[in-house]
Symmetry: C2
Subunit: 263 residues, 2 copies
């Protein structure tokens, strides 16, 4: 659980606790290319904002064995696990049943979820398929869905969310205050027309000087000219600013001015 056996990715002795998350994106439509996932980026950024680090994401098909195994692998490795997709009313929505299996719990009709759906749908629309959305693993905690009512749920450190981005985001906003984050990771970007291959050696030396930070380099083309975004990430803001100032000096020393519109 958060904080307890964390620290898997911490880099220094003095590091504040690192709280980790894994994401399981469930859906054949992502793996066929029909739909482009939008939830990974949203969750990665939102979790980062509350001091939780996404360490791995997996995209898997609507296959029961794969879902059960992946949930069990990831919930043992990370403080939090989030799943997206597969909790709607159709036959290919098997996530809730699979999460129940992963935890060895029964799938039960939750009275509160049932009442929510009954209040939301007219009697003629209360199909067995729709009412199935009230089935959750025994002992699960419901997650409020302010958009279309059918709830998500939490079992231990696993949060089961819908695939539709607008609903996922509204749901996440509703429960994120319950997540216990660790140290917030801040980032600083030095973007310029410095090419990666030119700055690489000095960036590596700077990384060696600040081993507790994570330095990355991302090439781009701007106004037809190649350049790079050099990104430093770390939890100590003062050290981050210090390393950033050194990086700006390196870039200027190579004859380039960092863009003012990127910080």
């Amino acid at each position: 659980m958060p904080g307890a056996e964390a620290d898997q990715t911490a880099d220094t002795d003095t590091a504040a606790t690192t709280v980790t998350a894994g994401l399981i994106v469930i859906g054949n439509e992502i793996l066929s290319g029909r739909t482009r996932d939008a939830n990974l980026q949203y969750l990665a950024e939102s979790l980062n904002g509350i001091g939780i680090r996404m360490v791995e994401a997996r995209v898997i098909p609507d296959d029961a064995t794969t879902i059960v195994d992946t949930v069990n692998q990831l919930r043992a490795r990370f403080d939090y696990v989030f799943t997206t997709g597969g909790i709607g009313p159709t036959h290919d929505d098997i996530t809730s049943a699979c999460v129940a299996r992963a935890f060895g719990r029964d799938l039960i009709r939750d009275p509160e979820a049932e009442a929510l759906l009954q209040a939301h749908y007219k009697p003629e629309d209360r199909t067995p398929a729709r009412m199935k959305m009230a089935d959750v693993p025994e002992g699960a905690t419901l997650l409020d869905n302010p958009v279309s009512r059918a709830p998500g749920f939490q079992v231990e450190n696993v949060f089961v969310l819908p695939g539709v981005p607008r609903i996922l985001q509204a749901m996440f906003e509703g429960f994120k205050h319950r997540l216990a984050g660790g140290a917030t990771v801040h980032s600083l970007t030095v973007a310029s027309f410095t090419q990666e291959g030119t700055v690489a050696a000095r960036l590596e030396a700077l990384q060696a000087e600040y081993p507790e930070m994570e330095m990355g380099s991302y090439p781009f083309i701007r106004d037809g000219r190649p350049g790079s975004s050099l990104v430093i990430r770390g939890t100590d803001r003062a050290r981050l600013e210090e390393a950033g100032e050194k990086l700006r000096r390196i870039v200027r020393d190579l004859g380039n001015e960092p863009f003012a519109d990127v910080t």
Copy 2:
């Protein structure tokens, strides 16, 4: 290898060979939310077009042990494995070295790759960091990069590609004729203002009638009204059309007309 131990995901006795692929997206920038991945969808669709099915994708950090382990897990499970990212000139580009480790091969300076880079860069730009992009696992086959020269490479069933979408796509176009695909999966979509919860039971019955196909349902809002895209995927075009016709009848029977602009 393709065709040999395939058939993991085939649904019927008569199924044509299923050729599978796994994708490994390597990069802290995806897991922090800084960059939104665009390669999964491109590769999923492109592979699908040549009869190769993406069965799982993993997004992992720039961490050597994780990369080595993930490559070894996935190359044993799938006919093809593609990696994206981490083959540039900076210190955080460790994919090539990790793939070499995964195969127990030495990382060597490839003479052909070295010549490509020497021809591309002016003498003063031939930094050690840039020349590092000529290092590949011993025995690897180079993959041509028509955009920026630094090649990708193939070792057995693993294809190591860059993260920049434009370069990845140009590289993929260059070698895709060498991939051996199985039966092509065709798809058919019936989109209408039929809600998922209304059509779910009949869709499930239709799925039972065509067990070799994959039927999915994806909700949407169009002109402020809720609807669904019902998608059927399968390798037998005649059976697919037959099932599609039945699905259109179901939708009409529920009082909705399938959209003419979605097929």
